[in-house]
Subunit: 328 residues, 2 copies
Amino acid sequence: MRPAEMIELWRGDLRESLHRGHAVICDAHGVVEAWGNPGQVIYPRSSCKMIQALPLIESGAADAAGLTARQLALACASHSGGAAHVDGVDRWLAGLGLADDDLRCGCHMPRDRVENRRLTCADLAPRQAHNNCSGKHAGFLTLNRHLGGGPDYERPDHPVQQAVRRAFEEVTAEDSPGFGIDGCSAPNWACTVEGLARAMARFANPGPDARGRAMRRLVDAMRAHPDMVAGEGRSCTRLMGAMDGRVAVKTGAEAVFVAILPEQGLGVALKIEDGSTRASEAAITAILTHLGVLDAAEPAARDLLGGPIANWRGIATGALRPAAGFPG
Amino acid sequence: MRPAEMIELWRGDLRESLHRGHAVICDAHGVVEAWGNPGQVIYPRSSCKMIQALPLIESGAADAAGLTARQLALACASHSGGAAHVDGVDRWLAGLGLADDDLRCGCHMPRDRVENRRLTCADLAPRQAHNNCSGKHAGFLTLNRHLGGGPDYERPDHPVQQAVRRAFEEVTAEDSPGFGIDGCSAPNWACTVEGLARAMARFANPGPDARGRAMRRLVDAMRAHPDMVAGEGRSCTRLMGAMDGRVAVKTGAEAVFVAILPEQGLGVALKIEDGSTRASEAAITAILTHLGVLDAAEPAARDLLGGPIANWRGIATGALRPAAGFPG
């Protein structure tokens, strides 16, 4: 099946650009609605961080380390590297008797405006704690402490990543065809868009067993701490805020987006074929509006879809719109 | 006709993302080779700045103001807002007895790392001269001085923009279906991808008349001053350098790219459907390699297409590749 036309950029009277993609909505029993090809194989990238955090809780490692909900939100985060995120990771590592050097995520300049300016103007290099994935890696290190594995916890054959793989294949109900190396050096296991939506529906319908309790705890942590999951002005933080914490959402690189709707028992996953984040943000906004959990008039929703795009002098030049046949 | 698959992003053993688009190569007589839909209507955005500069020369305004080749390159630029670009525009405006406030392009922070850091750390706001289009606007002001028009030279019905429109329709050999307002507030007239390639072929095969002389002068200015057309590390500057100034290239927002090959008498235009610059840069690299004017082993070419993409720890995670049926 071909990708569906999803998001259009209009300028004047012309459709200037077009984004195609795949999206699936699942409930506890299976696919409820889909656009494009539900069987498209993708890397979920950072959108699956709540899956990657399951072994952290299920193993008992999170409780042994006394992790808080705020820390669990950081474990699921692609954070902006602001002071609160970096301090959170620093303290977490210190509690384990570890330090920045024990991380294997690499360094990049933070998105957070204040922290970026501080580093830039003081000629300071970013540390690994600034990496948007440092919370996930602090979680890996916590699990690794519990499992007693070697320091190279990011290797695909390491017990930490094999535990992640087992959890990933169980909740997607698929055998992963393989992995790619992510920006943060951890393996990222592939699945179908439908498999990812199925996994999100399981998070939305957690059972009474250990897995269900772990899922509930992670979703509650994300919804309680949307500022930890991304940062000021970021789509995940703003969308969760606009929905009063009723829905958990998470972005992934190359235009993946997922949503977990506990009240509706629904899970959503989408991938824009071309990897454009502006389009994945617009598409998840369209679907959340379609499902009745996001008000299209909310500033966060309007900024991501439909609201006018202003140029450098504040003149409205165009807008992102849903394509015909796509909701919103 | 549907867009063609052009550029793929691979990670591990999976095609993670895909960019589709339209591309046309023309010689003096018409279409030589094409992918996707040559009739696709697009906004050329900044890729047509050498067309927008034609009336500046043909009117006699450039000579009346004593413009140099370096200034003509700035008129065709989407520059990085580095010190050399900003100084160039400041001096140009001063020579006209005008100042930053006379520009109508708006302000944005410069891409140039040094100038961006200087403004950020001194808490200074960017001026309009920092806008990547400020050279084009200095050209508009120069033409306006010659035509004696009002100060609102960016209005679509202003004599400056109407002169641009006439030149645009003549060199594309199309009646434009309309305009959109660009990021810099000037109107951007629409044409087909084939029309834009046809215009570039005319620049590559300039006649002995006033228009031909103006085209030759602009192309020579771009090729002699690739650092003025964009900036350090930017694709236009790097690609023109890698081809020893034999070919002029120019990017445009929303993934348009054009090339003018005087030695071959060819013009190229392409548009990636989804508006991703990484893909338009990769696609023009593929076509220039295909035409034998760019060595695929050049660092600039490898960085834009085919070379490994490294993550935050320097590990190769994937690569951009031409899709089957697209050259490169």
